[in-house]
Subunit: 552 residues, 2 copies
Amino acid sequence: MAKPRLKIIPLGGLSEIGKNMMVLEYADDILIIDAGLMFPEEEMLGIDLVIPDINYLLDKREKIRGIVITHGHEDHVGALPFILPQLDVPIYATKLTRGLIQVKLKERKALTGAVLKTAQFGAKIKLGKFNVEFFPVCHSIPDSAGLIIETPVGTIVHSGDFKLDYTPVSGEPTALSRLAQLGGEGVLLLMSDSTYSELPGYTPSERVVGEALERVIADAPGRVIITTFSSLVSRIQQIIDAAAKHDRRVFIIGRSMSDNVKMALELGYLHSPEGVLARLDELKGLAHNRIIFVTTGSQGEPTSALVRMANRDHKQLKINKGDTVVISATPIPGNEAVVNRTVDNLLKQGARVLYDKILPVHVHGHASQEELKLLLNIVKPKFFVPVHGEYRHLSYHARLASSVGIPEDNIFVLEDGDKLEVNPQSARITDKIAASNVYVDGLSVGDIGSVVLRDRRMLSKDGIVMVIIAVNRQTGKLVGRPDIVSRGFVDTREAKEMLDESRDLVANALDHGNDRLADWSFVNTKVKDTLNKYYYDQTRRRPMVLPFMVKV
Amino acid sequence: MAKPRLKIIPLGGLSEIGKNMMVLEYADDILIIDAGLMFPEEEMLGIDLVIPDINYLLDKREKIRGIVITHGHEDHVGALPFILPQLDVPIYATKLTRGLIQVKLKERKALTGAVLKTAQFGAKIKLGKFNVEFFPVCHSIPDSAGLIIETPVGTIVHSGDFKLDYTPVSGEPTALSRLAQLGGEGVLLLMSDSTYSELPGYTPSERVVGEALERVIADAPGRVIITTFSSLVSRIQQIIDAAAKHDRRVFIIGRSMSDNVKMALELGYLHSPEGVLARLDELKGLAHNRIIFVTTGSQGEPTSALVRMANRDHKQLKINKGDTVVISATPIPGNEAVVNRTVDNLLKQGARVLYDKILPVHVHGHASQEELKLLLNIVKPKFFVPVHGEYRHLSYHARLASSVGIPEDNIFVLEDGDKLEVNPQSARITDKIAASNVYVDGLSVGDIGSVVLRDRRMLSKDGIVMVIIAVNRQTGKLVGRPDIVSRGFVDTREAKEMLDESRDLVANALDHGNDRLADWSFVNTKVKDTLNKYYYDQTRRRPMVLPFMVKV
C-alpha cells in the first residue's frame, strides 16, 4: 500500500486579507488552523461578511480532529459561529483567545454544544496523527500563539500572526529559543505571517506607543479621548498606567470595549490600580484635565461613540475646544476615507487630533522584513509556505526566503484551494479544489451569488426603470400607455418629459406589429432594446430596465 | 461712500480633495483661480465627476475678468469644459497648461469660442483692479505656476501646487528669490498648498526617482513596463534618458499617454534623442532587454493597457515571466484596492513588480512641512489661508503657520463658501454662501440630487422588490394575487417559497378590510409595512419595496 501523504490546503486567507483557514490532512486525520472572516470589499455590495468555503470538509467531517486557533482576531476566529453548526469539532485555543471565542459564539447563538478546550503554551495536544504545541508570539492581542505541529512526515512550524517584540507590554516575547532548538532538530515546513513583508527593517516595540501616549496624556490641557481596537489589551494597559501616573481617571465607553476590558480584567490580562477605572456617573464635576475616555471608532464605524461625537450625534458626550483625540490605530484597508472624515469632523469642532501620521501613537502587530528573515534563519525549514496576506505580500515574503538561502523550488506561494503534498524529500502542488468566497448577508450564509451582486452593482450605478405593460387578455393588444416607474436613475421631476416620451416609445414599439403580445420574450427584448438605446442617447446612463406584463 | 472691500471665497477644494476654485472679488472685478474637478467618493454611486458650484458667479458674469490657471492637473482645470459654457471669460495659463486645456476642451466639445491666453512667467497681466504675475514653481507637471496678485488692498501670493526641488528635471526651481523680495516689500495674504502638510521634513527631488528608475532599467533581465501619470512629463523624460543610456527603445502605449507625449515634444517640454522613441510596429524581433513600455494604468483604471495586461485581456501585449513592471506613482485615495489587485494579478503571471513601498520609484509633487515653513518664512504674510487639501491638511498647515510666528487670529481655515473679507489691517469671515457638490453623471450636470443618490445607495445594499397590485376599476377590489419581482435582493430560485409567501401576505393585508382600494397612500403604506417587516424578519435585509397599482 502506498504511504499516506501529508496535504496542506489553504481554504482562505491567501489571496485576500482575512478569512484565514488552513487545512492539514494526513490519512484519516484532518487538522484545521484558524477560521477567520473577512470584511467585504467595495464591490461586494450589501454583503456583511465573507467566510471560507468549507465544502471540501463537509463529507470528511468524521476525520476532523479539531480546529486550533492562533489568536482572537476576527480574521482568525470570526467564521467559527458560521461553520461550527456544520462541523461539530472541538476548538483549541489559549485562555484569552478561548474567552473571546466564547463571547463571539454566544453573540451569534452558536455556543450551545460547542467544545472549547484551553491550550497551555508548551504542552502537547494529540489530535490524531498530529501533535500540536502552542508557543507564545507577540502580536497586537495578548495570548497569541504560533504552532509546532509534529506530523508523520516531519515537523511543521506555523508562526501565527507575530512580531518580535523583546519588550512586550503584556505576555512573553516570541519564543525564539524554542524555535532555534527546533531549527537544530530539523523543521520540514515553515508557514509564516506575510502581512508586512513589504516593510523594511524591524517593527517597533509596543513600548514606543506607551511613551508617546504618556507624553500626550501628560501635556494635554483638557480631556483626552483615545480610540483603539477593543482587543488591543496591551494598549489599554498602557493608557491605564499613564492615567495612574498623571492622576487621570479612565472611562471605558461603548459595549464591545467594556466587554473586552471586563473579560481581560477577570482573566488577569489587564491590571488597573484602585481608583483609575471609573464609571460614567463619576464624570460629573471631574476637572477636564483628569479625564481620559477610551472608546472604539478607530475604523470610522458609524455607530461607535467616537464617530457619533464627531458627527455631533452623541447624547452624553460632546467634543469641546481643548479636547485631545488620539487615534491609536491605523485604518484597515478600505476604511481610510471614513476615518479621514471622522478626523476632519473632530477638527472642525475644535479638538486637537493626533494620529499615527503625525505622532507614534500606534504600532502594528506584524513582523517586518528583518524579523521575517530572522525567523527563517533560526527555523531553517526545508520547505516554506508564506501565509497571511494578499498575493503581493506572499510573493515578497517568498523573495525574502529565497534571499536567505531557501531554494526557490522549495518555496510555494499558494492560492486558496491549492493542494500541496509534502514528503520528507519533496513537495509539490498536486491539485486545486474549489475555495471561493462565501457571503454572509443578513441571516443567510452562502445564498448570495454572482447574479444578485451583479444586479446590485447595476442598480447602484444608474438605478432602475420598471415598465408595466397592460395587455388585453382576449385580444393580446396593448391597453393604454405603458407605465414607467424609476428609482435612482434621474430626478423624476426634472426628467418628467423624457420619462413621458419613453412611455410613448414603448407603446409605439409594441403597437407596431399587429401580432398578439403573447410572446413574453419578444416583448421583454423589444422594451429593453428600445429604452436602453433611448436612455443612453438622452443621458449616457444605463439603468436596469425591467418590463412587466399585466394581463387585463 | 464706503471703501470697497476685498473678498476671498473658495468655491471648492477646501473641504475635499480636488475641484479647486478660488474667487477674488473687489468692487466690480472678479478673478477666478483654477477650475478643477474631483473624482466621486465611494458613496457617490454612479457619479462620474464632481465640479464646483458656480451659482454665486452666474449673476455676476459681467464682473469676471478671467480665470487664471496654476497648472494642468484635473483638480485645477477639469471643470473648465463644464463651466465655460456658462461663464464666457478668458483663461490665462502658461504654455503647456494652455496646451493641456485646449486638448481637454476639444475632447468635451467646449473649445469653440473659448479664449485662451498664454501667460509668461514674470510678466504682469492686468485683470480689472487685479494685476497678476505668474511665477514658476516645481510640481509633478511642467510649467506649474504660483501667482502674485496685486490688489488695491495689498499683495496676495498664491503658491499653486508646489514643492521646492532645487534640482528639477525640467523647468526652473520654485522662484524663491522673487518671493523673498516680495516678502521684504510686504505681503498681505499668502494662500499655500496644504496637501502634504502632515508630512515632516522635505520632499525628495524628482532626480531621486531618475536614479532608481535607471538602476531598474539597467538591471532588468527582460522587458520593463513603466506606468505613471500621463502628465508627469519629467518622469517620462527620465525614462527616455535612461533608455538612451542603456540602449533600450521606448514604446508609448495608450491614447492619453501618446497624446501628452506628442504635445510635450512639440511644445519643447520633452526631448528624445534620435532612435529612442519607437512605434509599436518596430517591436517585432527586438530583444526583450531592449524594450521599455510606458503606459497609463497607475491608478488601476480598468480600460488602461496595464490593467488589461494584468487581467490577460490585452490583445497585443501579454505579461511574460522575466518582465519587470514599475508602478511609478502612488494610488490617489480611493484607488488603493484596484491598484493592489493589479499588482497581485501581474505577480501571478510571473512579472516582477516594483512600487514605491519597496523602491523609490515615485516622489510626489507637494511640499512637506519644512518647505511649507520655509515659504511662510520668506513670504512673511500678514494673513494666511491654507488651501488645497482636506480639512485636516488645512488645519495642520495652520498649526505650522502658527509655529513660525503668524498670530492665530491672522490665520483662516476656510470651508467652501466662506466669504473672507480682507483689509490692510484686519480680516474676518463675514458670510457663507452655498457651495456644494455639483455632480456630473453621463450627459447632465447638476441634475443628480440627494434623493437619487439615496435611492442608489439603498438599491446597492439590498436590492429592490416591485409589487404589482391589480385592482378592479369598478369594485375597487384586489384582482388575483399581487405579483412580485425582485432584483439584487435574494437568489430568486432559492428564495422562491419566501417570495411566494410574501404575495399571500400582501393579498391578505389588502383584502382584510372591505373598503375599496382607492386610497393609494393607504395601499402604498400597507404594502411597504407588511413586506418590510416580513423580509427583515426572514432575511435581516431591507430591500426597497416599490408597490404599483394597475386598474383593470
